[in-house]
Symmetry: C2
Subunit: 342 residues, 2 copies
């Protein structure tokens, strides 16, 4: 029996399978209570629950990068708290169900928010390398913590930058979804990686080919940033660590530093070029649970939300882009002050 | 060699395959010239190229439902013209290419616009049954015409309602994408249909189960409308013809009438409930080309665009919805004046 039938008002989140498309959706009724309206106001201005001093407006912190001082008080540099309106919950336990074509399972997991910094106006692209490395270090700590829990199949780390990209609060933050399933996107990428494994890693090859094809934007010692050959949208960027490893959790100090450098530089370039556009940014890494995903190569993706995806994308699963990837890379390089090749 | 390399300014559209995800995108540089700015103004108001009297602002019509009068003059009820900014073109011929992981093919096909009616303010949901049936008849005529052409693999019919759903012109219109590939969405649905074929049609079953599960919105003699069990978004609706047939092109007079009735009634209900929200609506039907797709069941889908899909959807391919499907169906029934069951 589904939770919806049992207790409509206190329904725990579910993961449901569509019998027509085979796709899974999360039904999380509790998220409908998310702010717009936040829990307090001062002089008519809404109180930001992520700003220092307002720690009592979030659930108690589960982790923080701080010096002295007790939990849930100011003084932190990065702070992790449970999402007040979770799409996945540890309480959503129990078995899956199947009634004819209606197949589902509890959305057992966690949904955490990492507040990127105490500064309400400082997005990832505005950070200096040290600030960004501190944030990425927080991602890694929380990733490793959750990956060690039983039943966890995938951990999805994302940033939604600005409301137009789906952020419900302005203060820059990261969301961590701890999932009991491997999502379609990762299954598709694993399939591609395995199909081509005999000829070497497809993502290592994609980085080399981007260089030869004029789609490289920037590279440092440990990372590359390029516009994908089949970019879904203008100025989409794929960030690829040079060392082939399936797992974000295996990243060392050098890679975190290189990651901070490549992300902040390219996002600054994007912001210069397009005037601080909304974007979605996420980590794609191998599933958790110890199986061998050696052919997979973890990476980061970023899609600016400057064009409204229309019915064609929903109807077909295929995107239409209107800017040649090589031209997008050229404009991004120019806005970053990098001389073009040739 | 890709077209982009050959003639960047006059590039023909391409379909490119992503070597990491396996997904295909269309690169259509010409669509970047789409209006906002339309080709003329009167008293400072932009001229609508889809209004009667402005026929010269579109390419010559390829089909019209009209009485007397020459082509490209007023007097039509529904009018089909090539898209001035096509994502697919008959000129984009020739062979595909493969350079390492860079795989692509010309976006050979057609991209047509059907102007739904002469009335600039009349959306599908505002139409009476006769007007809607005339429009659906136009879809069927154009569908049958394109399906008979060689090399056509799939025809995608969509409506983007309002700018927030991706419409670049306000005057209600339908887009017809004539594709040289079967898209991922249809491949996934064919896969599901085949997997379950031994137990009967999954879509016939989905309609029955929606009735038993309180997710049916409305039905007439030939159609049903329900909220899917795993709806991607609040108030998503699946419209299912009661007669199992893989192919929209096989629809008879009764089915067109029933389709006009179910679409207009439910869209009116949606508009009453949410105040004319933006939505995407599309037909899912079997691929063209004569193979046997007997297990597939064609249908129509509609997703309101009232919530901004965020990074989670892009990162995982999984949607998060915050309204229980049964509750969405109940609210839609209520707004249509249909007494709820029980």
């Amino acid at each position: 029996m589904s939770n919806e039938d049992a207790h409509p008002e206190f329904a725990l989140p579910e993961i449901r399978r569509d019998p027509v498309t085979g796709a899974w959706s999360i039904l999380a009724v509790g998220r409908s209570r998310r702010p717009g309206a936040v829990p307090g106001k001062v002089n008519g201005e809404p109180l930001c629950p992520f700003c220092p001093g307002n720690e009592s407006l979030t659930p108690p912190e589960v982790w923080a990068d701080r010096g002295q001082g007790p939990p849930d008080s100011p003084g932190w540099k990065v702070r992790a708290v449970p999402n007040l309106y979770p799409a996945l919950m540890p309480e959503a336990g129990g078995r899956g169900w199947r009634r004819g074509g209606m197949v589902g399972r509890p959305a057992h997991g966690e949904h955490e928010v990492i507040v990127n910094s105490p500064d309400h106006g400082l997005s990832l692209g505005d950070m200096d390398a040290e600030e960004a490395e501190r944030l990425i270090h927080a991602w890694l700590q929380r990733y490793r913590y959750h990956a060690a829990q039983p039943q966890v199949k995938q951990i999805q780390v994302i940033i939604n930058h600005r409301r137009e990209a789906g952020a419900s609060l302005e203060h820059p933050h990261t969301q961590v979804f701890v999932l009991p399933v491997v999502t379609r996107a990762i299954r598709d990428e694993l399939h591609e990686a395995r199909q081509r494994a005999a000829r070497g890693c497809n993502i290592c090859a994609a980085a080399r080919e981007a260089r030869d094809d004029g789609r490289m934007i920037y590279e440092n010692e440990s990372w590359t940033a390029c516009v994908p050959y089949a970019a879904r949208a203008p100025f989409e960027v794929r960030f690829i660590p040079k060392r082939h490893d399936p797992d974000f959790a295996a990243s060392g100090k050098d890679e975190l530093g290189g990651m901070a450098d490549v992300l902040t530089r390219v996002l600054k370039g994007l912001s210069n070029l397009l005037g601080n556009p909304p974007y979605n940014l996420w980590i794609h890494t191998a599933p958790c649970g110890g199986r061998d995903y050696g052919c997979y190569h973890w990476h980061v993706e970023m899609v600016p939300r400057i064009i409204i995806g229309a019915g064609f994308e929903l109807a077909t699963g295929m995107f239409i882009s209107i800017l040649a990837p090589g031209e997008a890379a050229r404009q991004l390089r120019e806005s970053m002050g990098i001389a073009s090749e040739q």
